[in-house]
């Protein structure tokens, strides 16, 4: 699936949920299903600044593509980072760097997750971009 297709898919998935609580149920599920993140990787340099809850993000490059892993101590945040990962993992640096991350607003996350949380989201996005641009 191309990046565009995957984003479209996420937008459609979210459009199924009218109710905020259902969106959260979905994010919680996503969070719970996120692949385990090794404790020893929860280091300062992998911690994303600007989130109220703690979020760790790591990237590995394989065959010219970036693969992300992540964790958070809050489950909804974990669901959000999980969602981002599911979209951006396996893409090339160029693809990620060129993306505008606008789909996040389209699924209503940005507006509705409060400014602090939104800042967290912005921080997550910025970190993903930075990883794509510079590597760690």
């Amino acid at each position: 699936m191309t990046l565009e297709e995957r984003k479209q898919e996420v937008i459609e998935e979210f459009s199924l949920y009218d109710e905020w609580l259902d969106k959260y149920e979905y994010l919680i599920e996503l969070g719970k299903s996120l692949e385990a993140f090794p404790e020893e990787k929860k280091t300062e340099d992998r911690l994303i600044k600007g989130c109220q809850s703690r979020v760790w993000l790591d990237a590995e490059e394989r065959d010219g593509r970036l693969f992300f892993t992540a964790d958070s101590d809050a489950i909804i945040t974990k669901g959000i980072i999980s969602l981002l990962i599911s979209v951006y993992s396996g893409r090339t640096r160029e693809e990620i760097a060129a993306d505008d991350f606008a789909f996040v607003a389209e699924i209503g996350l940005k507006e509705n997750l409060s400014p602090t949380r939104a800042n967290g989201l912005v921080s997550m996005i910025n970190t993903i971009k930075k990883l794509a641009e510079n590597g760690r």
Binding site: W20, L21, Y24, E25, I28, Q52, S53, D73, A74, I75, I76, T77, L113, S114, R117
Partner: protein, 406 residues
């Protein structure tokens, strides 16, 4: 005044969030403002708007009267001895910084000690840390008892020859317990040590009589007690305020400004540098009137007591929940708690979507969080316009949210 009448004074309570009726339980962060406060502000801006004190024209006279009238109201509200002991600031934080700087400037020297409690808000810790750093003084920390209260005996044990001031909270914004301030002050005064009381929460829940408490300083914010934001009060005993240098310079806090040397105005002007918040300070009058009126209203007291009992019991009985600040006899309807295996922020986000505004996180009391061994808590804090029904909806919603997350 019935609860309905009280609620009708707060149009914001009819707001819908995400299509649900707003249940505002973040009152400890900031209260809502009654219609009388809005009207007061608007009336001043539209009818009596001019800079205060010096000008001799009509609008300035009206604005000054409103501002100085607020000082009289605060004086009577706190039962201060003199109006000169009431200093207006931009908030409790500014009040405490003022004392830390100006008292510290004269009375705190290298090797001296300052005592704060572990349960203090950052605003009653950081200014003292900054002072200690400037002066080479040391901060001593009074721990809370198991039930969350401060103990006069333990404080006594911490006082030393070098203690210069004790800064403690009337009611912690996390624990929601009324500390035995009068006894704490008495213990300090026996040792000749003055006491600053952080009354940011205390003034909201308790009738405060500074002469009875005999505290040396009492600080609070307008916005937590229904007044406009940007307003704050520092009560200080005249003997201290007189002995302290100004905190900020400029405007009319002076007697004479010369490059060869400046002399300062008498109290309270000495501490009110620059143009004061003259549109907002007078809103303290309707705000404190409201606070006093609801406090004296049996219907309100009963509802508050019912809320307190209901929420306290519900939280204490739920095995997944750990409530902090459990001393029932000293409790006000302000509850901070942890839910086992669940992040406070997740709860706050879900409750928000149910229309409920609660606070999550460290609540500007990180040392207390560390002391309690948590990264943050969830807090629900009630005001006189909250109902038992809302409390029940909160507990039911909390239960639902926990179940979603576990």
């Amino acid at each position: 005044m019935s609860l309905t009448q009280i609620r009708s004074q707060f149009p914001i309570l009819d707001t819908q969030v995400y299509g649900k009726p707003l249940v505002y339980l973040d009152n400890a962060a900031s209260a809502q403002r009654p219609q009388a406060v809005v009207d007061c502000w608007k009336g001043l801006v539209e009818g009596s708007n001019a800079n205060i004190h010096r000008a001799v024209h009509h609008l300035a006279a009206q604005a000054t009267d409103a501002y100085e009238g607020a000082r009289d109201r605060v004086k009577s509200f706190l039962n201060a001895e003199a109006r000169e002991e009431i200093v207006f600031t931009s908030g409790a934080t500014a009040s405490m910084n003022l004392v830390a700087f100006s008292y510290g400037q004269v009375f705190v020297n290298q090797g001296d000690e300052i005592i704060v409690s572990v349960g203090e808000h950052h605003s009653n810790i950081v200014p003292w840390q900054m002072l200690c750093e400037r002066k080479g003084a040391m901060l001593r920390v009074l721990e809370t008892e198991e039930n969350g209260l401060l103990s006069p005996a333990k404080l006594q044990g911490l006082l030393s020859e070098r203690t210069r001031i004790v800064a403690i909270t009337h009611i912690s914004n996390v624990l929601g317990l009324v500390n035995p301030v009068k006894e704490l002050v008495s213990v300090c005064h026996e040792a000749g040590v003055p006491v600053l009381v952080d009354g940011a929460q205390g003034v909201v829940h308790e009738k405060v009589d500074v002469q009875d408490l005999d505290c040396d300083f009492y600080a609070f914010s307008g916005h937590k007690i229904y007044a406009a934001t940007g307003t704050g009060v520092l009560y200080g005993k005249r003997k201290w305020l007189d002995a302290m240098p100004p905190y900020m310079g400029g405007g009319e806090m002076i007697e004479t400004v010369r490059f060869s040397g400046t002399t300062y105005a008498p109290l309270p002007m000495k501490f009110e540098a620059g143009t004061q918040n003259f549109n907002a300070v007078p809103t303290l009058v309707p705000a404190l009137d409201f606070a006093q009126a609801v406090r004296e209203e049996k219907a309100v007291a009963d509802e508050q007591e019912a809320i307190l009992a209901y929420v306290y019991d519900a939280l204490m009985q739920d095995e997944r929940i750990t409530l902090y600040g459990t001393a029932r006899e000293a409790k006000v309807p302000l509850f901070s708690f942890a839910v086992k295996g669940v992040h406070h922020e997740d709860l706050a986000l879900i409750l928000d979507k149910m229309g409920i505004a609660v606070r999550s996180g460290q609540m500007c009391a990180e040392p207390l969080m560390d002391h309690l061994g948590v990264t943050g808590l969830l807090r629900a804090s009630f005001a006189p316009y909250n109902t038992l029904e809302e409390a029940k909806y909160f507990i039911a919603s909390l239960n639902k949210a926990i179940n979603m997350l576990i």
